[in-house]
């Protein structure tokens, strides 16, 4: 099973793990991205993710297809949440199962890197000083998460 979704409800990593798990595949790699309380030295209080949802889901599916080609991973699920999120909320979760552990781990790493590059999702951060800003990773001094 391969499944990619942009959702407006909380993302449950345990549900994704259950979704990809099977008795044939002994290694499951998971990545979970949560909302941090700081970014580039500023105190974050909450954020809003927005998306070009139809294209985002299409890009996510394409990334999973590429992951299958590269790593042979056929059991993989990814969910990205959009809308308002609070500190600590899960923004993205990826679970990949494979017979071999390094294939599962490298697959998960590949998927999160590709998401960061090309899935049309945007992040509006709200700061403690009352200001807000659309995050532009191409302008940041260093990768943060």
């Amino acid at each position: 099973m391969k499944r990619a979704a942009v959702v407006t409800t909380p993302v449950d990593p345990a549900a994704l793990i259950a979704e990809v798990q099977s008795n044939e595949l002994g290694a499951i790699s998971v990545f979970v991205g949560t909302v941090r309380d700081t970014n580039e030295g500023r105190t974050v209080t909450s954020l809003d993710y927005s998306a070009y949802t139809s294209m985002a889901e299409s890009e996510l599916r394409e990334i999973l297809d590429e992951a299958e080609t590269r790593f042979g991973v056929t059991a993989i699920a990814v969910e990205h949440r959009i809308g308002p999120l609070l500190l600590g909320d899960v923004g993205v979760a990826i679970a990949a199962a494979h017979a071999h552990r390094q294939a599962a781990i490298q697959c998960t790493s590949f998927v999160i890197e590709e998401i960061k590059k090309r899935v049309p999702i945007w992040k509006l951060e709200h700061y403690a000083d009352g200001s807000h800003e659309w995050v532009d990773p191409t302008e940041m001094k260093a990768a943060t998460t």
């Binding site: 998306a51 294209m55 299409s58 993205v92 899935v119 049309p120 999702i121 659309w134 995050v135 990773p137």
Partner: protein, 79 residues
């Protein structure tokens, strides 16, 4: 005219989620970018913003038609 979707910071820049942009048959993605950047708010865009056509990133040379679903994609920040 082409209908162009805007998102996030670009929708704020133009004050609207959709633009109507003049279009001539045979025009490319590069031509569209030039048209958008010539609008009053267009100078706020980078020189080569990423353009999606029918939900896929499109190269500057790609030809456009009126039935295409077109969007200007700000720097992504998901994950």
């Amino acid at each position: 005219m082409l209908t162009v979707q805007l998102f996030a910071s670009y929708a704020e820049l133009f004050g609207a989620p959709i633009l109507q942009v003049p279009f001539e048959t045979g025009g490319t993605v590069a031509d569209l970018v030039e048209s958008i950047r010539s609008l009053p708010a267009g100078r706020g865009l980078p020189a080569s913003p990423r353009i999606a056509v029918n939900r896929k990133f499109a190269p500057p040379t790609q030809l456009l038609s009126k039935s295409d679903e077109i969007a200007v994609i700000p720097p992504v920040a998901g994950g």
